[in-house]
């Protein structure tokens, strides 16, 4: 009976795995299929240029790619110290009510819809940004990065916290017995031994930032340009896809959506591969 159940479980898991793998390959295939005409026509060069002005026949999506990269890197850089601080606090105040509350808040943050973050930021963050910096409308790279940083913060915290808890038990007892204070344990034992976890957490946070469309769409201003400062408006690939799909359905602009999708896919795949490579290197160094 148990054997039979196990057989079903095994087959079920295999089916689930194969479905997810197939879905990803199908996605890649469809993206390639739709971008095919573009990739093998002379329009490709036009697409990979720095100018987006559809009314004059310029369909360059490189500014969007730059925007995506800048926004994702900036928001990850902003979320990183905050996430580290939160994890340190939770670790060093393990049994206090405050750290439990903090962890609960972080959990709740993951379930808040993205649009709420954007919506609240439009009313709370944009006006002061406009006033303080007195440049533009306040819809800019910095505003979007701050909000996106907040959005990916719980992802980074929870993934790293899970690693810490996993590695924690025995390491904690050992470092306690050596006379290290909780903060010293965190800095000199937990952080170095869970560095893999930290990298994974950052990569996941970064990928989430790359893929998010709502925050840049609502807060970054969406001007397809190369920003000269943090206070300039930008457009990301994801926001570009959303914007064009909502307004167009056949022109070259529409075609650029597929190239954007493909580019996003390739970017995320590359970052994931890099993370995998880093992790493997770290593991082999540990051995």
């Amino acid at each position: 009976m148990t054997l039979r159940r196990e057989w079903w479980i095994q087959k079920g898991l295999l089916a689930a795995t194969l479905t997810s793998v197939a879905a990803i390959f199908l996605l890649l295939f469809l993206l390639l299929y739709f971008s095919f005409p573009l990739l093998f026509s002379g329009d490709l060069k036009q697409l990979f240029s720095w100018r987006w002005n559809p009314f004059e026949g310029h369909y360059g999506i490189l500014p969007m790619m730059l925007g995506t990269l800048l926004l994702s890197i900036l928001s990850t850089v902003m979320a990183f110290p905050a996430a580290l601080g939160i994890c340190a606090f939770i670790y060093t105040h393990r049994n206090s009510c405050l750290s439990r509350l903090l962890l609960l808040v972080v959990h709740v943050m993951t379930s808040i819809p993205t649009v709420i973050y954007g919506f609240v930021s439009v009313f709370i963050l944009v006006p002061p940004m406009r006033r303080i910096f007195a440049a533009g409308a306040g819809f800019c790279l910095l505003t979007a990065a701050l909000t996106l940083g907040l959005l990916i913060l719980p992802t980074i915290v929870l993934v790293f916290h899970a690693y810490l808890t996993q590695a924690g038990g025995s390491l904690r007892a050992v470092s306690e017995s050596l006379g290290l204070t909780p903060m010293e344990q965190f800095c000199f034992v937990m952080l170095p031994s869970a560095s893999r976890g930290l990298v994974s957490a950052l990569i996941l946070g970064f990928c989430r930032a790359v893929g998010d469309a709502m925050i840049p769409l609502m807060l970054a201003g969406n001007a397809a340009q190369i920003p000269a400062s943090f206070l300039d408006s930008i457009r990301t690939l994801s926001a570009h896809v959303a914007l064009v799909l909502a307004t167009d359905s056949q022109s070259m602009a529409y075609q650029s959506v597929f190239a954007s999708g493909l580019l996003l896919f390739v970017m995320i795949a590359m970052v994931t591969a890099l993370a995998h490579h880093l992790n493997r290197n770290m593991l082999s160094r540990c051995r």
């Binding site: 007892a173 017995s177 000199f188």
Partner: protein
């Protein structure tokens, strides 16, 4: 009675985990130059006693301790549970080695050097000297001197356990607590550790938890039998010289 004054004095110690009393009214003294072995059934409270001496049981939020533990160093007496001496210093002075070799996931060198740098505040060459000294104490230096910067997990189980011992010794402890230090090791490595304990006891007061009666007879100067959280019998050198008597007592109290 031992003519020397004790290094560590446990008086009236009782420990509870939630509502369950794990140790009741324990009295125990550790003397310099003497190795005391704690024996008893699994779950009798041996490890809890060890961990309540350096307050390691405090990492379990449900644990409650009553009674007194006093550490008498050359300069001062430290009341482990009531003193204003920082917990980190207490833990450093009462060194502990665990049952399974608990190396940190760093290099051999860093395993010893990092705690020295942080808890003793040493810098530069003093650390290198201290690491070499500690590794020599546990006869590990010659085996690892050419690969100090390799990860400590590349060492064998016995070597890892000696590294843990070296790491503890490097922190200049007054007392050593060892929780079944040879339980996870093969025969040869275990014998090596036993020989080491014989040397170390001349300089430290040592308390060892052991499950092996043979080992207890080989290394102990004094044996304390613990049952259901109570110290039920203490045996001195005289009694230990007679193995038949020792086994008779064990039969009675186990």
């Amino acid at each position: 009675m031992n003519s020397l004054s004790s290094v560590l004095e446990v008086t009236n110690l009782s420990v509870w985990f939630s509502e369950r009393q794990v140790l009741s009214d324990i009295h125990l003294s550790l003397f310099p130059g003497e190795l005391t072995v704690l024996i008893g059934h699994s779950g009798s409270g041996k490890s809890t006693l060890l961990q309540s001496i350096n307050r390691l049981n405090e990492i379990f939020p449900v644990c409650r301790t009553q009674g007194e533990v006093q550490l008498c160093t050359e300069r001062k007496k430290i009341r482990v549970y009531q003193s204003d001496v920082p917990l980190s210093e207490i833990r450093r002075r009462i060194g502990m080695v665990f049952q399974t070799p608990a190396v940190l996931p760093f290099s051999i060198f860093r395993n010893v050097a990092m705690p020295v740098r942080i808890t003793l505040g040493y810098r530069g060459n003093v650390i290198n000297e201290r690491v070499e000294w500690a590794l020599r104490q546990v006869s590990l230096w010659d085996e690892v001197k050419d690969r100090l910067h390799k990860n400590a997990s590349t060492l064998s189980g016995g070597q890892q356990q000696r590294l843990c011992l070296a790491r503890t010794l490097a922190l200049e402890p007054d007392v050593l607590l060892l929780d079944e230090p040879t339980a996870s090791l093969d025969f040869k490595s275990a014998r090596k550790i036993e020989a080491l304990l014989g040397e170390l006891k001349t300089r430290y007061a040592i308390l060892v938890v052991s499950h092996s009666l043979g080992q207890t007879l080989r290394v102990a100067d004094r044996v304390c039998v613990i049952r259901d959280g109570r110290m039920v019998r203490e045996m001195g050198k005289q009694e230990l010289r007679n193995p038949a008597e020792f086994y008779r007592v064990i039969e009675t109290y186990f």
